[in-house]
Every structure is written in C-alpha cells, then in structure tokens.
Amino acid sequence: MLSLEDFRSDDPIAWCPGCGNFFILKALKNAFVELGKQPTEIVIVSGIGQAPKTPHYLRCNTFNGLHGRTLPVATGIKLSNHELTVLAEGGDGDGYAEGGNHFIHAMRKNIDITYLVHNNQIYGLTQGQTSPASDLGHVSKTTPKGSPSPPMNPIMLAIASNCSFVARGFCGDIEHLTYLIKEGISHQGFAFIEILQNCVSFNKTNTLKWYKDRVYNINDEPGFDPTNRMQAFERAQEWGAGIPIGILSRTERPALDTQVSAIKEMPLVKQGINPASFAGIVESFR
C-alpha cells in the first residue's frame, strides 16, 4: 500500500504561506495514493510560474520545462511511453496566455494526459500582473487603469475545442479536487482540470473566502448531465453568485495515443533499435 510518505520530497517549498497551491499539492498526492500510482510511473511536466514548482514538492518524475510549453513536452512523453501516467501542470499565464495554442490543439488531439491549471487569475511569480484570466477592470501594474478586456473562459474554450474531459476544481475543497484529479487521470483522453486558486499576495479579490462563498458542485445537481455538450456550454458561462465546480463535460472519443499504429503493441521506448531491420531500406532508391 502506498502512503503520502511515498510522495514526500525534501525540496523546501518556496510558496507564500496561505497560498492555495499547498492545497492543490495535497490533493495531488492524495489522488496518487488513492489511485495506487507508484511515483516512478508518474511524470509531471510543468511550466514556469508558482504553480509549476509543484512537482518539485512531491516525489515523481518531473520535467520542469518552459513557461507555456507543458503540453507539447507531455505529448512527446506520452506518445513515447504510453504506460506512464502523464500530467501537465501550470498557471493561468502559462496555460492560457503563453501556452494557449498548445492548449487548444492538445484538447483537439485528445492525447491522454491530465492537465491541471492553477488559476489564480494573475501572473504570480512575476509579481501579480494582469493575465488573460484576470477580471474585466482588474488593476495591476500592467493595467493601471483596469483591464479593458474580459477574461477568457477556459471551460468554454475547452468544450469548443472538443476536450473530452472538462472539470473545474477549487483549491479550498481538497477532497473534491482529489476526486477530480483521480477522475481526470482515469479518463482515457485529455482531461482538463482548471483549479480555482487563491493568491494571498496579489489577488485580493478572488480570495479563498470569496470562492468558498460561491462555488457549488454542479454534479450534485440531478438535472445536470456532463455528457450533454450544450448543457455544459451553457453552464460554463456561469460566473458570479454561483460558480460551478465539478465535471462539466465528459465525452468519449479515442485518445490520440490509441490511434497511433507504431505503438499498438508496445510503447515506443520499449521497441529498441534493430539495425538489421534497415537492410532493405535502400531498395526504393535503386
């Protein structure tokens, strides 16, 4: 039996006390333990920001790459060794600003990875500037007169991009978040989990309490059916007095890694190189 201890890392944590990232870290470890995943079979690909420091603070294979480029790296890893459990992790800046193009295409391709976006609605590590997820009118040093643009809606974007698993979690509800991460990992295909995360240093509006007063679990609602895309799209627009969390949309379609003939029999990395097989390769040039 695995325990949380198996996922302990000695790397000292560099987050601010009170940061929502601590809860997310906890939920992630919980999910791994509950799924019985070995640290060695997990890879987390993270970007640059506060959120991407996460994998250093637990024990699992880690590729802490570039700002905004988690998904291509994760795709390369998954296609090369699909036996691995591959996650990608980053902030809203990382995923929705710098990495926006990879986001929409990874969802379309439905590669079997789980993507966690810690959305604190600002660029945290660079000291709190406005991100594409910041509220309309949000004041920061890069929008001193308030952001003139409404925030993007990543849930709607995901649904429109044909994402096969779209969920929203909240760092303040570790148990529910653990559940979502487990579902996401178990889902065969691209699982997008946006996590509402407080930032005590730079986001004074969307605080832990602010969220607590608003979030509700949409999956508790009898009439709500996540396999109904139109319903999901409609509910994804909700943001105000009530903010739905839970699995918003879930559809079944083949994951990219199940469609690639080269790895139908075994992972690419296990196939080795067989120089003998190249003997006839020059034939077509004769």
Partner: protein
Amino acid sequence: MSLDITIRIGGQAGQGMQSIGYIIGKIFTGHGYHVFMIQDVESRIRGGHNFVQIRIKDGPVHAVGDKVNLLVALDRVVIDEDLHDLAENGVMIFDGAKTGFKSDNPNHLDVPMERLAKEAGKSKVMLNTVATGAVFAVLGTDLRPLQDRLLKQFAKKGDNIVENNKRCASAGFQYVKEKFQDLPSYNISLRPSRRGKMLINGGEALALGAVCSGLKFYSGYPMSPSTSIMEFVGAMAEEHRIILEPAEDEISAINMAIGASFAGVRAMTATSGGGFCLMAEGLGLAGMTETPVVIVLAQRPGPSTGLPTRTDQADLWFAIHAAHGEFPRAVFAPGNAEQAFDIMGKAFNVADKYQTPVIVLGDQHLNDSYFTVDEFDTTKITIDRGKIFSDDQIPSPMDYKRYAWDDSGISPRILPGQTRAVLYAASDEHTEAGHITESAAVRNQMMQKRMKKIEGMRREMKKPVIFPSEKSDVVILGWGSTYGAMKEAVEMMNRDGLKSRMVHFSEIFPFPPMDVSAIFSKTTRIFAVECNYTGQFADLFHFETGIPVHHKILKYDGRPLSPMDIITEVKARI
C-alpha cells in the same frame, strides 16, 4: 570519349519537370552513369518559370554545369528566358503549336508534345512523358529502359496508367527519331543494369540517415526546404514504427521532440529559418535540461520569409548562437548526400552521448538536389545511446541525482518509468538532484559541468576534407552544400594547371581541433566560398584558427554556386 551532358527541363510549376528529371536520373544511375540534378522552382504551385537541371557523366559528378546541352521547354517562358543558356550546338525540344514559337535552327526540335500526349495518353498532362521519350531519342539511347522504368514507377497506379505512359514515351521517342533523322545523336549506350548505386536527394539522405540511426519520434511543422524530410520520414513511419506527429507550430514541434527524448527515444525535428527562430527557446531548454535532440535546419535565403524555395547558407552564426545563455551544442553541415546520411547517425550519437542539442544544417541546394551515390551500407552504422543507467546500475535509488557531477560533464540519465528511481529535470538552474536552486556555488558547478562537455564534443569533430593531398597555394575553403562546386572547381583548375586544393568542413562546431599549419603557409591564398552575404564561415574560420581569409567568393541570390562561379573569381584575383 567521356560523357558530360547537362539537360534542363523547364516549364510551369505543375507540368511535371521533376518527374522527367527523376526518371532520367534513375535510369542513368541504374545503368552505369553518375547523375547530379538540381531543382530551381518558384514559391507557387502552378505556373511561373521553373526547371530541373540534370547533369549526366560517366564519372562522379558533384555540381551543376554552366551550359545546357539539351533544353526541354514545356512552356513559352522557358524559350524566352533560358535559350541563351544553351551551349553551342545544344539542342532544344519545344512544342511549337503550344508555345507559338518558331525557329529554323535545325537544333531546335519542334515536337508537338501536347498533341502527342492527347493522342497517345488521352490527356495533355502526360506531355511530360512525351518529353521524356523525346529526350531519350535525342540522347540516342534505347527506349526499353525508359519503358521498364515507367512500369516500375506507375505499377501501383494500375495498368491503364502504365500503358498510357508507355505510349506517350514511345510517341515522343518515335517522333524525334523520325522527324529529325539528321540530328547528330549523342548515341549514349546505357550500360548493363547494375546494382550498388542509387539516386537520392539530400533531404531523403538526411531522413534515411535518421531512420537508420533509430529515429523513433519526429514532430514537425512544414517549412520549405525541410518539408521533404518530414514527408519522407512519414513514408517510412509505418514500416519502421516511427511516430510522426504534426505539430501546431514549431514551438510545439521542438518541445514534443524534447519530451519524447526525455522519455527515452531518439527524436528529431526539422525546419527552416523562421521555424528555427521559434525553436530557439526549446534549444536552450534542451541545453539546460541536458536532453538530447536533433534539429535539422534547412536553410533558405532570408531574412524573414525571404525566398522560400531557394538556397542559402546564412544561418551559420545563428545556429551557433541561437538561444540565450551559454550551453554546449554541436553544429554539422553535410556537403552531399553521403555526408548527409552519415552525419545524421553521428548527430544522434553526439546528442545522446553529450545529452545536448545537435543542429544539422542543410539547405535547399543540398536537400532538393539528387545525387548518384554508392548504396548506403546500413550495417556500418554504430549506435551510441550514451550513459543511461539501467535499474540495477542506479547507485542510490532514493537519492538518484540526474545532474550528478562528473568531470566529463556527463551525468548518467535514467528514463521515467524505470522502477527504482525518479528523476527531476529543470530549466531553472538546479542542484545535482534537479531541484531549483539560488546558490552561487551550485550555479558555478552546474555551468562548469555543462560547459565541460564542449571539450569532449570538440574531440569528436571530424577534420575537414582536404583534396587533393598535394599542397598548393590556392585554397578553396568552404562548408556544407558548396562541397560539390568546390570539388569540381578544384578538379578543373588543377586540370587547367592552376594548382589548388579544397578544404571543406562538414563538422563545424565545436570547431574541430586542427593543425592549420599543415594546410596553410605564408604563401597560401585562401578563397572562402559561401552562399551568403557576409562570409559567415570565413569569419568563423578566422576567429577559430587566427588565419584570415584572403578573398570571399559569395553568392546570395538564392541560386547555388557553380564551379565556374568559383573558378572565374579565383582567376580574376590571383
């Protein structure tokens, strides 16, 4: 008498000049001759003025000729613009009815190619096969090998297509034979069909070299002149179980390749200048995380979009310095198809051994030109995946350090999924264990560790090709795809009594250790030969060896350097 004949087939994009050239090239390669063929095309799909130019010799051939012996004009614009390139006594095949061109020069053969195509092949698009038949008639060879080739080429498309093609070839052939009986034919006799040689272009050779070195993962976004590499890997993917992943952009392409390599397979991408710009950040990521990756940078004239379908060698300094900060990388620049094939194997070995990015510079001239080569010997390929710990080699599983100090700079990797340890890789400066650090001491140690690899890499770099071996005062210095032009120029100059030798680099950075005094003395006059504006390699050479170059022979109009470009300049300057 020795044979050396140059054929140009010109026309609009879409008229199938490539296929004529390719068929000629295949047949002559298969029957004892050597062939070199370039493509000169515009950045469009239909129309315009394009040509292929093929040179056939009974000995090795490395470069284009300056004069055309046989011009095949599929379109009027070719007659208008290319006729002046015809050698004295050269022959032109054209379609008077189609082009409205008239000539009473007995060497201008009016062949109603379009009409014959419609008659014999039921479609005017088969005019290119008619033209091929006509070419064979002028060359004075048998029709048979052409018919055989057409069968081989079109077999997959069905009997009907094969038959129509054969009929068209025959129609063109017979028409010339009958109508132009007075024309002194070349009377080339094809030698018995022979194995051991093949026809391949540089792009194919790069792709083949990669595949035969165990390439398993290719991610890319099309960009001329690199696209053919991607497409050719695609053609081989099914059989050799390679994943070809079309990326949404080049940033994704390089990051996917890095991911695949991190997971443990040999991975590459290919692109051209604009895409390489976008990959620069990923290049640095590979450098910092010490992830092997091979990038083919197929050069074309810049800056920016430039001339997409033409050739240039102006990305050398950029390749050497791309990405911020300092980290090891290797840069190769093969000069022909053989080198292209071999260097890909080496590129993967160096990448794996030194856990570092490797850049292979191609260009449109290398990638799109066809060479007759000895059949590649795939059994000679050695594969060195570098230091990768198996599970039982991991010294202390709970404390495995991905970036453990080693005097060579190389730390043994493990792959994610091994059961005894996990690994941390980070783009931030990191500890030996791979965690983010702020320590000045650790920073110094890690910089030294990474940079130490350069010493080892430098020792791997091959010295330049020097030809001929006798010393001479005139030295033609070059790199990459000018190899062929340099070779021919030196041969010609020596034949003409102008003693000279070539010094050609295909392994460029880290600059190979070399005893320059063996090549250069006080009386040496060095002519650097490159396709760029500033003479980038000349500067690098000067910088690395301390030896200044006396003259730069530079061409930057997007067209390949010819032997005569070199000879003319050399003669003018000595």
